[in-house]
C-alpha cells in the first residue's frame, strides 16, 4: 500500500485541520489552563467531536460509529497535535473504544460503544502504576469474591481518569508482577464505591489522574476479554494507542517546526534575518529530515494496524520511538531558535515543548520502544 494518504483521507485531514484550528486552537488550551477550568477540557468541544464523527472514528456503524480505520484516527490525532487540543480523543475514542472492540462481549459493546461514538461518556485506560510505562509489572490485585472480583491497588498517569465515566483497568488475577500471564482487564464505573481519584494537573495542561482502588467490587461480567489471559488484548489496545499517539506527536513536532521556521524568517540580528545563518539552516534541514523519516514510520504503523494487526507490534514500536525522539528534537530546537522569546509563556513554542514531553512519556518512551524492538529481534 502506498505510504501516503488517499483522497478520502486527505479530505478528512483538511476537515479536521480547519475544524481544530478554528474551534480548538492553542488559545483554547491557554483558556483552560489560565481559567483553571476544573475538568480541564471542554465538554462542548467533545460534543462537536461526536457530531463530526471523530469520537466514533474507530467504531463500526453497527455501534453508532463511522467505521473508519487507524489511518483516519491518526489523521485526526495529528491535527490535535498541531493545535495542542486537550480532548479525550485518545483516552476515549481510541483506547477505550479499542479495548471494547477487541475484547468486549456483544453486550459490553452494545452497552458502551454507541455512547462513546455519541460523545455521551468519557472513558480511560488505567495501566501504569509507577513512574515509567511497564504494563507487565501490573500489581493491582483483582481477587475472586462471591460472584465477581474485588480490586485493590493504585494507578497513575490515567489520561482523563479524573472525568472518566468508564475505566478500563489492567489488573492482576494471578501470577507475579513482571509476568505477562495472569493479567485481566476490567470495566469499572468511574464513580464506583471504593474508587478515589485525584486530578493531576500536568506540565502540558492536559489531563490525567491518580486513582486508587480500595475494595472495589465488580461483577464477573465486568471482565473484558479473557481472565488471566488479558496481556495480548492489552498489548493490542496499547499498540493502537501508541500508533495514534505517534501521529499526534508528529503533529506536535510538525507545528513546532513550522512556527519556528516562521520565526527565523522574520527575526533580524547582525543586520540579517537569522534564517540566513548557515548554522540555523543546517540544523533546520536536519530536523526537517528527522520529521519526514518519522512520518513514513507513523503512516506505516497505522496502515499495518488496519491491514495486518497481528504483525503491527514492531512497526508500532518503531513509530513511537521515532515520533518521541524527533518531536523532542523539534521542540528543543524550536525554543533555542526563538532565543529569549522561546523562554516566555507568551510564545507558543514552550507549550509544544511541554506537550512533547508528556506524549513522549505516555505509553512508553523512545527507550522503551527501542528496547521492545531489540527484544523482538532476540538481543
Amino acid at each position: 500500500m502506498a505510504l501516503v494518504l488517499n483522497d478520502e483521507q486527505t479530505m478528512l485531514r483538511d476537515t479536521a485541520r480547519s475544524f481544530l484550528s478554528g474551534e480548538a486552537p492553542v488559545a483554547a488550551l491557554r483558556q483552560l489552563r489560565d481559567g483553571h477550568v476544573a475538568e480541564g477540557f471542554s465538554r462542548e468541544l467533545w460534543k462537536q467531536f461526536a457530531e463530526m464523527g471523530f469520537a466514533g472514528v474507530l467504531i463500526p456503524e453497527d455501534f453508532g460509529g463511522v467505521g473508519l480505520g487507524h489511518v483516519e484516527a491518526g489523521v485526526v490525532a495529528e491535527e490535535i497535535g498541531r493545535n495542542l487540543t486537550a480532548t479525550p480523543f485518545l483516552s476515549t475514542a481510541v483506547l477505550t473504544a479499542s479495548a471494547l472492540l477487541h475484547g468486549g462481549s456483544d453486550a459490553q459493546k452494545q452497552a458502551w460503544l454507541p455512547k462513546i461514538a455519541g460523545g455521551e461518556i468519557i472513558g480511560a485506560l488505567a495501566v501504569d502504576e509507577g513512574a515509567k510505562h511497564r504494563p507487565e509489572k501490573t500489581a493491582l490485585q483483582a481477587t475472586r469474591t462471591g460472584n465477581g472480583f474485588t480490586l485493590n491497588g493504585a494507578k497513575t498517569f490515567v489520561v482523563d481518569g479524573h472525568v472518566a465515566d468508564l475505566l478500563v483497568v489492567a489488573a492482576r488475577t494471578s501470577g507475579q508482577p513482571g509476568e505477562t500471564q495472569g493479567l485481566t482487564l476490567f470495566l469499572v464505573a468511574g464513580d464506583a464505591s471504593g474508587v478515589s481519584r485525584e486530578r493531576t494537573v500536568m506540565v502540558d495542561a492536559h489531563n490525567a489522574a491518580r486513582i486508587s482502588f480500595d475494595n472495589v467490587q465488580v461483577d464477573a461480567d465486568a471482565a473484558l476479554g479473557p481472565v488471566d489471559g488479558g496481556h495480548e488484548l492489552l498489548e493490542r489496545v496499547l499498540n493502537v494507542g501508541r500508533a495514534v499517539l505517534a501521529a499526534e506527536l508528529s503533529g506536535v513536532g510538525g507545528q513546532a517546526f513550522d512556527i519556528t521556521q516562521a520565526y527565523v524568517k522574520e527575526r533580524s540580528q547582525f543586520g540579517r534575518i537569522i534564517g540566513e545563518f548557515q548554522s540555523l539552516q543546517h540544523r533546520s534541514a536536519h530536523l526537517f529530515s528527522e520529521l519526514e523519516v518519522t512520518r513514513a514510520a507513523v503512516i506505516k504503523a497505522l496502515q499495518t494496524l488496519d491491514a495486518n494487526p497481528d504483525k503491527a507490534a514492531t512497526i508500532v514500536a518503531v513509530a513511537k520511538a521515532r515520533a518521541g525522539a524527533s518531536t523532542e528534537l523539534a521542540v528543543q530546537e524550536g525554543v533555542q531558535m526563538h532565543g529569549g522569546n522561546g523562554m516566555t509563556d507568551a510564545f507558543d513554542i514552550g507549550l509544544y515543548m511541554k506537550r512533547a514531553r508528556v506524549a513522549q512519556e505516555l505509553l512508553g518512551d523512545s527507550n522503551f520502544h527501542a528496547d521492545r524492538l531489540a527484544r523482538a529481534n532476540g538481543y
Partner: protein, 393 residues
Amino acid sequence: MADLETFRAETRAWLEANCPAEMRTPTEDEEDTVWGGRNPTFRNDAQRVWLERMGAKGWTAPEWPAAYGGGGLTREEAKILAAEMRDLGCRSPLSSFGIWMLGPALLKYGSEEQKKKYLPPIVRGEIRWCQGYSEPGAGSDLASLQTRAEDRGDHFLVNGSKIWTSYANKADWIFCLVRTDPTAPKHEGISFLLFDMASPGVSTQPILLISGSSPFCQTFFDDVKVPKDQLVGIPNKGWEIAKYLLTHERNSISSMGGRAHRPVHEVAAQHVGLDDRGELDDNLLRAQIARLEVDEIAFELAMERAGDMAKRGEIHGAYSSLLKYYGSELNKRRHEILMSSGGSDALEWESDRSEHGAAPRAWLRTKANSIEGGTSEVQLNILAKRILELPGA
C-alpha cells in the same frame, strides 16, 4: 489487487526457480558485487547466470520501459519484486552507474536513437559506465568545471581532467560534463557528453583510498575526438541534465546501507556474546544498536514513501537531497557501531580470518557516502534553500 497477487506468486516462483543458491546469501565483500561490462569479472558461475537471467527479463531495471530492455513494471509490481527478492535473500544481480544514474537521465533527455543504442546494454550489464563530473577545482562547486569541449564541425575535441572518477580504469564508457561555451555564465556553458573510454587520448591514474583499495582515478583527456551525436540534450544546456542525474545518484547512495546487509545485532551477538538473560553482553552497545535499527527501519520506509509521493506527483524536486543526507549519515553510523560490535576482531587488516579486513575496509569506505554525490553540507544547503526556502541560502 488480484492481478498483483498473481504477479507476486509468479514472481516468487520465478525467483525460486532462477536465483542460484549462492546468490541468496548476504554479500560479504567487494568481489560479491557484480559490475558487468565488456570484460566482466565473475567470482563464480552463479553470478554470471543470475545476471544473464535477470538481464534477459529486464529486472535489473524493473521500471524502465520494455522497449529499451527494461522490465516494464509498474511501481506496485516493482515493489513486489523488491519485496520478494528481499524475502528470499536474493542479491542484486548488477551494480551499475548506468542503471542508477545515466539511464534515468537518458530516458528523460536522450534522443530516441540514443535510448535505443545505450539503454539495452546497460540493462544486460554489457557496458559499464563511469561518471566524469568532479575536477580538482570543481567539487562542491561543480558548475565551475573547466574540462573543455571545442566544436570542430563534425566532432568535439575534449581536453582537461576529471578527478575522483570511480572505476574509470574499469569502465567502458563515460558520461562527462564539459564546458562548451567558456564565455557564458558558469551554469550556462556546460554540455553533457558520452564517449568511449577506449578513445585515443583518454588515460587514467588510480588513486589509493584510506580503505586500501583504489576504485577511483584521476582521468585525463588529451585531444579526445567525440562524435557530435554523442551529446545528450541541447548544447550548453547540460547543467539541467547534470542536476537531474544527481538526484538519481543521491537516491542510489541513500539506499546503500541498511537492511539489505547482515543485521548489526547478529554481528554483535557473534563477537560480544549474550548474557544469561539473552541480551547483548554490553548494554550501552545494545542500546545504540536498538536505536540504529529503529532508524534503519524508518528510513527504509521513508525511501518507499518518497517513491509513493513521486508516483502521485506530490514530491518536492529536492527531496532526493533529504534521502541522500539521511541515508549516508545513517550508513556511517551503522559502520561505526559495526566496528564497535566487532571489537578487536574488526581491527585485523590482512588475515584470511578477517577476509582481509573486510570490516574496517567497509567502515572506511562508508566515510565517502557523505562526500560522493554531493556532501552532506551541500545537501543541507539544498534543503534549506529549496524546500525550507530560508533566505540567502
